[in-house]
Amino acid sequence: MTRPLPSTVVSDLAEIVGHEHVITDPERLLVYESDGLTAYRRPPRAVVLPSSTEEISAVVELLHSNSIEVIPRGAGTGLSGGALTTPEGVIVGTARMNRILKIDVENRIAIAQPGVINARLTKATNPYGLYYAPDPSSQSTCTLGGNVAENSGGPHCLKYGVTARYVTGLTVVLAGGRIVKLGGVGRDPYSTLDLVGLFVGSEGCFGIATEIEIRLLPITEGVRTLLGIFESVESAGRAVTKIMASGLMPAAVEIVDGPTIEAVEASVFAAGYPLEAGAALVIEFDGTEAGLDLDADRAEKCCLEEGAIEVQRATDPEHRVKLWRARKKAFGAMGRIAPDLLVQDATVPRTRLPEVLAGIDDIGNRYGLKIANVFHAGDGNLHPNILFDRQNQNELELVELASKEIMQLCVDAGGTITGEHGVGVDKRKYMTLVHGPAELEAMAAAKRVFDPASLFNPGKVLPDAEGEPSTESDKILAMGE
């Protein structure tokens, strides 16, 4: 049972942000009991929704002076339980911090508050011929603050890189409410250490970003989208390696495997993929219009050489949307096959994809579990989805075991335990697969520099006992990407 906040703290919070922006009603708090990974649930003691850097600073100062832990939260679309509260925590949400403060066309930068939705920044900058490159699958709902916390990726990060490449400066609120400016275009980047780079991806454990300076790119002139249909996911994987080794630089290279195609084609999202296909490969090139057909021709040749049954090429924007549909709607469609799914997020060196995919298939067969793969093949970022029924206790245990074996398989292949979803609470148990005690202590030391009393999002990222769900019954395996 969550312990309510002392009434004096509630009234002090209300004084800072307004009574209507402090949520303590247990029913309303249920909305905040988990993020996109609903395996972990716990309602916070309260939710506070400030609207400015100064308000966030005052809220953090008040909570920290009462030794109350602060759990930052964006849109709650994260997939690692990063926004799960601790038993004593208060969630500080950025939903009201949703203003784009500046679009500087001359210098191609924007300054936005953390609650701005990712896709909204692109929409707002499009009239100036600019856009924001990182495009996580949840971009129509996820926030820039959440993207900063998770160092989010997305399909087009293959060519353009992840969030860290685009964040040039930050205003952050640190322990005790201290407001600190880090970096910024126009300043000597070598005058100090790369604190912006360290803060990005710190999963809310260092502080809260309250203003984000972002680099924008000019909109590309043209785009070409191809869909390769393969008999097996291994041959699609080999085609990926061939394309990338050929010197081509696609904007995105995504694989959808047979079980996923089956699910999509049986759903309202049917994209017309052949049901007998073992895998589909979506390849996209963007850039100067004049070179795109040549790139597409070369990629098509690579696919055919690796045994593609057919290669389609989008002829108009609608066709492009259709070719992408199975990739984009895969997670929604999987609900038809099984009531629940667990999304994993490991990265392996691209050349190891075929053997790792075969290994995952083998793990699924051994445990009698259906595993569907939809992933960013170009950068080796796998998303194996284990399909199951949470009502079946025996199956739940098998899912846990299979999940751990998949992680070990990826690490043994030279990979890592998370490419873009973050560690949060969920992958802490796998951290020792990739980091030794000295590396983990070094990360803890870095956290202490920003948050010495561990009052920002404790119990995340680093594998200690803090913040674990109190009982197994708190944990119900997840659904959604």
Binding site: V105, E106, R108, E150, N151, G153, C157, G161, V162, R165, R178, V180, L182, V185, G186, R187, D188, P189, Y190, S191, T192, L193, D194, L195, G197, L198, V200, G201, F206, P218, M244, A245, S246, G247, M249, A290, G291, L294, T347, P349, D379, G380, G414, T416, T418, G419, E420, M431, V434, H435, A438, E439, A442, M443, A446, R448, V449, F450, V461, L462
Partner: protein, 410 residues
Amino acid sequence: MRVDLTDSLSSILPGEAFGYSVPSSLSAALRTDVETIVAPGSVEEVAILLQWASDQGVGVVPIGTGEHTYPRYPRDPFIVLTASRLNEIQHYEPADLTMTAGAGVSIRDLATQMAIHGQWLPFDPPDVRNRTLGGLVATGLSGPLWAGYGQLRNHVLGATIVCGNGQILRLGGKVVKNVAGFDILKPMVGSRGELSIITSATVRIFPLPAVDRLLVLEATDISELVPTARAVATAPIMPASVTLSATSNGSRLLVRLHGAQVSVDSDQKSLEKHTSVSFEVRDTPEDQSLMLEEIDVGINTELAVRVWALPSQIDVLLDVLKRVPGVSLNADVYGGSVRAYLPEHLSDIESSLKGLQKDIEELGGSIRALRIPAEVNVPTYFTKPLVDEGELASGLKRAFDPQSVLWGIG
């Protein structure tokens, strides 16, 4: 105090670690003679050395080639640690576009290996081929090509480092997407050996472009070229780099276009239409290297600074800098930064630099010294980091180099 620490070190390091010569420009950068230089041959030897230094209270100055070292006052006594023996390419998988190599491997050697497979490391700070991988990562310098390829810091995928107290850490990995834990690799890149010593690094590499075209526009005064340079930098297509230079041979705008032949032809047409100018084209590597090297003609001058402001302020920045008689300039137009190579016979260096600092900081910009004569008090001319940034950086320094044997921030 000048102390030769070789005797003490010879009991902990093998004979191969000794006998290395001190790079010619190093003593000037350190403002003192270098008495002891050692070359550990493995990460373990680096760790032993740093444990020893921590115990003995001896400063350690890490160098790559030692030819591009920032002006700094090392702790006294100190030794120089050269990465010369950490010179192996440990892992290169062309199909993965990743490479792991020792800190002492020269960029020239890496480039030769990568070129065999049609690949390269697209970073071009001055004199890049004569730098080492460790030096490049430790300085975090990307060069103007960052515009087309992103900053070096985003392409360092992993590194083995040794902290000031001898603790070995293996950070990051060999994959291009990795968010497994706090990214403590990021502050190591560009920390210039102040937090740790990088013994090897894994970097993302790129396919060589089919065509590397250099567009050139010449003028007598750099200011005449600025409007075109800014027009290029705000055009709908994004060149790989845009550089402005002013030397005694005149002023030039250099625009690099990378890609397939048809794309580069099309990009050139777009840019010429957008800017209403016709560029001279240099497509052969020989022509290009002549031009690209010439912009860093001042690389060996004893007095050089680098300044930053918003890219849109590059005109004002150049106006301020070209007031210095005899100055050579090299500007990264996308980055809003300029390297200024100042004449060594400049009268009253201190007041000239103070004047520059004042003007540039009034613009909201920053200035730092790259090379400076021994008699000039260096830290005065660095634009200081913001107070809070400085405190956080000091906290990291205490965490990773508790005895402060590595350089010392300042």
